[in-house]
Symmetry: C2
Subunit: 274 residues, 2 copies
């Protein structure tokens, strides 16, 4: 596979960053990720918008305009001849002479073949944590990676960040509950504003009451349904939280309805851009 | 300069990490840093101990024993022919096939010529933050790097992390105050246990009352003296905090006495190992 590496087209196995790069020295960088389906870059305008937003928060100038990046992404997809894939854009702090100050950021765009997501039911646990710079999609997954061992021990699929009784997000996805009164709720603060999260909120508002606000640990315990959203996974139903069944321990009705709506919305998006 | 890169001796400019490395993908890794003086690895046993401790916390197996690493560090110093230098050992999450799970960690040891530190007086600001995994020296400096712009705007030298009225540490150094009653205080929790911090505590206890505990924002305001400690800087006196003079806005007497004691202690360490 080709990657777009520091302004050039390079074979993925030959792309290597000098060790003075601030990602290696200080874990400093931002990224974004989205799917390619039927050769179409899914919601690329939203992801580019967020990528630039993350970069701005973290003081990293992007070495291309949004239009240029979009052309590069299309060229990458053509060169690699993939129709179903995931694309990752990483922007690091650059080759830093003192290993501390931000230099000219290095941009890397990677593409991997990827199957369409399936709605596998999730068993989750909660973990006391809140991300730094939640509004930015930084490469700092120190907590997320560290948690993998805890997940394995707990035989769970994902860990939900909860801080002072307030739920925020998963390391790589957003969190929704459906209350007993059929109201959808997702955290308004301390979260990355997921592209799929926004689509789901929009779609949900057409059929249900849906709100962004504070989701408490108490509300989670009494939720009728719960699910997660992400660009790579769309919607995954949550069937247990900290070992306790959510709803009846099966994917919820509203959850599956929203997944159906989201798929149809995505189909229409793809259709008009193919 | 030579670096020890993934088991081989490589020219620093040719050492490059494949982009699947977990430091680039997820900012995941640990490191340690110490000085070389007169060809002697200063407090190397403490730094190796801490490096292994950090790696253990973050689930990263170190690919060498402490004894092997010590020999590699000595060989590096010989090959580079440096007598005064800084040495950095970085251990990343390795080349991760899925860009998320820990693989075989990559070890990189870098050496740069470095002058002995000078006791430049510091003007600091406080910043509401506490590090994740404070006991581990992870490569995650997202907050520290982000703060550089804030420091420039405030015309300050360093930012002290304070959370809920409790001071912890600087991004790269520890923090001490001297109270009006000549008691030394430094944070016991939410800090990396600095090697210099420990030496200073030991030395201070021979001459003063010194304690690890909670250092409140209130105590900082009434402190008679304040200083920071780090392996690369030894002791730096702090003369102002958030724009307000500390003590009389000059390096404190006890601070300078401790720096003298620390230098003598280091001299003796070097003398016996040369």
């Amino acid at each position: 596979m080709y990657v777009f590496f520091r302004g050039e087209w390079v074979d993925e196995n030959k792309a290597a960053l000098g060790i003075s790069d601030l990602s290696i020295q200080r874990g400093y960088g931002v990224f974004d990720f989205f799917r390619v389906r039927d050769g179409v870059l899914v919601y690329v305008e939203d992801h580019l918008e967020r990528f630039f937003h993350s970069a701005r928060i973290m003081h990293l100038p992007v070495p291309h305009s949004k239009e240029e990046l979009r052309r590069i992404l299309l060229e990458l997809t053509e060169k690699n001849g993939v129709t179903e894939a995931g694309v990752k854009m990483i922007l690091t702090g650059g080759y830093s002479p003192d290993g501390y100050e931000i230099a000219n950021p290095n941009l890397i765009i990677i593409q991997h073949a990827m199957k369409a997501p399936e709605a596998k039911p999730m068993q989750i646990i909660t973990h006391e944590y809140v991300r730094d710079f939640p509004e930015a999609k930084t490469i700092n997954y120190t907590a997320g990676i560290w948690l993998l061992q805890k997940l394995k021990e707990a035989k769970a699929d994902e860990a939900l960040y909860v801080k002072n009784g307030e739920a925020s997000e998963f390391p790589r996805s957003n969190f929704f509950i459906v209350t007993k009164d059929n109201v959808l709720k997702t955290a308004a603060r301390n979260v990355l504003k997921g592209v799929t999260r926004d689509k789901v909120l929009q779609l949900a508002k057409l059929h249900y009451k849906a709100e962004e606000g504070i989701v408490t640990a108490e509300e989670i315990r009494h939720a009728k349904e719960a699910f997660l959203t992400s660009s790579s996974k769309r919607i995954l139903p949550i069937v247990s939280i900290d070992g306790r069944a959510t709803g009846h321990g099966k994917p919820g009705e509203i959850t599956m309805h929203l997944l159906k709506l989201l798929r149809e919305f995505e189909d229409a998006y793809i259709e008009t851009r193919r």
